[in-house]
């Protein structure tokens, strides 16, 4: 077991595990966001629960942040190693002949997502932390006595440029997932009779989830 993270396969496996974790998180995030389309009240209640329940806040949140950072850092480490594995590049290379754009550009779609996460943290997470843990307001209420979550959400999607940025980021997320989903299973050593079905499911996941996020962003932009 020792040194597994020093091996190429071990690193990829860790990449796959963190990816699977992040994909589950993404699903959960999407489910809650989707509530905002149907019912502001439900959305507020769930948001408040998530934002104040200690297991989520003190256990899951640090794990998630670690997962995100790990996934990125490991991604960079692997990228650097991969670059070193070919120091003289081809004069002519026809990558499109044998592999998808997504698979060859995970680092770029990943970087786009990283940039988006920074924006997203700036938009939501930092204000949350500020409100809850710096100002110490754990009530989740606005001055008028209503829950603040839905209100804040809608407010963010007023700006057309932010909605545009979000939509672009979700496109990159889709591209990242289109390769990443099945790739994670392959790295984890799963390639059997279920693989074909899993690949189809992965494609659906990679398209539906980001598309859903885009829908939510647009929905709030046009319905505030």
């Amino acid at each position: 077991m020792s040194g597994i993270l020093n091996s190429s396969i071990g690193r990829k496996f860790a990449m796959a595990l963190s990816a699977l974790f992040l994909m589950i998180f993404l699903l959960q995030h999407f489910a809650i966001n989707l509530l905002s389309v149907f019912s502001a009240d439900t959305f507020n209640q769930v948001s408040h629960y998530m934002g104040t329940f200690w297991v989520i806040q003190y256990v899951m949140q640090p794990v998630l942040i670690f997962g995100v950072i790990f996934h990125f850092v490991m991604g960079f480490v692997l990228e650097i190693k991969n670059k070193k594995a070919r120091t003289v590049s081809y004069a002519k290379n026809n990558g499109a002949a044998n592999s998808s754009w997504m698979s060859r550009n995970m680092i770029y779609s990943g970087l786009a997502i990283l940039a988006f996460i920074c924006l997203h943290f700036y938009d939501f997470w930092l204000p949350e932390i500020n409100t809850k843990y710096i100002q110490g307001d754990m009530s989740g209420l606005l001055a008028n006595g209503e829950f603040r979550y839905f209100e804040e959400l809608q407010h963010k999607f007023v700006d057309i440029w932010r909605v545009a940025l979000y939509c672009i980021a979700f496109v990159f997320l889709a591209l990242h997932l289109l390769h990443g989903f099945s790739s994670a299973f392959q790295s984890a050593g799963a390639n059997n009779k279920y693989t074909k079905g899993l690949k189809g499911f992965g494609k659906a996941y990679a398209i539906i989830i980001p598309l859903g996020f885009i829908f939510i962003a647009l929905f709030h932009h046009f319905n505030h």
């Binding site: 991969n82 026809n94 998808s100």
Partner: protein
């Protein structure tokens, strides 16, 4: 056909190397790619120039010696063939063809289009075998029945010719398809299961030490592999490796 060739020329391992243009004419579409290079070399020798060095031997697609990167693809644009089986009918009169060596840090250029694939041998030394004495006192062959499905899969993995097209095609110069095929062949057979743990750990360790990149599952190797070795073998190696790591 008349063609323009852009060929990588590099005197030896320490030379910097550059692309050089050549022209060849009267190429028959029935020629193999290497026969076209023979024509060029004959022309160069007759003009007192140094011929282009390239690896080749069996010229029937099985020895795995030939190793050219043609127009941006390992073994050129055709599928399921090595360079020696690539025929000139795949190209058009007037085409410009770029010919480079397989590129990877683990495959240093020896001269022109020849690279050193010794890394593959060293990975095999680390564990690409079943430890059985060769002097004959083994049990009867039919005393080890093997499920046909497994035997066929093992055979498919074993058809790898070790040409290195997988490494050359991989954007990360990863050798996972090659190593995966070898690990799979033995992992699928009852004879190979006994030392499966040590084998996969040792071979992967050697692979990493040789400086190959990491597999990011682009699948380019499988597409370019002249023998159609499946990505399934990589997944099998991954799971073998992870199991072995937990055990060891």
């Amino acid at each position: 056909m008349n063609l323009t060739l852009k060929i990588w020329r590099q005197k030896n391992a320490s030379d910097k190397g550059k692309m050089v243009d050549y022209k060849v004419s009267d190429i028959s579409p029935d020629m193999s790619f290497l026969e076209m290079l023979d024509v060029l070399n004959e022309q160069l020798v007759n003009n007192d120039e140094e011929p282009v060095a390239f690896d080749h031997d069996c010229r029937e697609g099985i020895c795995g010696m030939c190793s050219l990167y043609i127009n941006g693809e390992a073994h050129g644009p055709d599928r399921g063939v090595t360079t020696c089986q690539l025929h000139m009918r795949m190209f058009k009169d007037g085409d410009t063809i770029t010919i480079e060596p397989f590129r990877a840090t683990a495959f240093p250029v020896v001269k022109d289009l020849i690279v050193d694939r010794g890394a593959f041998d060293r990975i095999q030394h680390a564990g690409g075998f079943i430890s059985v004495n060769t002097s004959g006192n083994t049990i009867d062959a039919n005393a080890i029945p093997v499920n046909k499905h497994d035997a066929d899969k093992a055979f498919e993995a074993a058809t790898c010719i070790g040409c290195g097209a997988c490494v050359a095609s991989c954007k990360n110069s990863s050798a996972m398809l090659f190593v995966g095929a070898k690990v799979s062949q033995f992992a699928l057979l009852p004879q190979g299961k006994i030392e499966a743990t040590d084998r996969v750990l040792n071979m992967v360790k050697q692979m990493d030490e040789e400086g190959f990149g990491n597999c990011t599952n682009t699948g380019a190797c499988e597409v370019e592999c002249p023998k159609g070795i499946s990505l399934e073998n990589i997944a099998r190696m991954n799971s073998e490796y992870l199991k072995a790591s937990l055990k060891g």
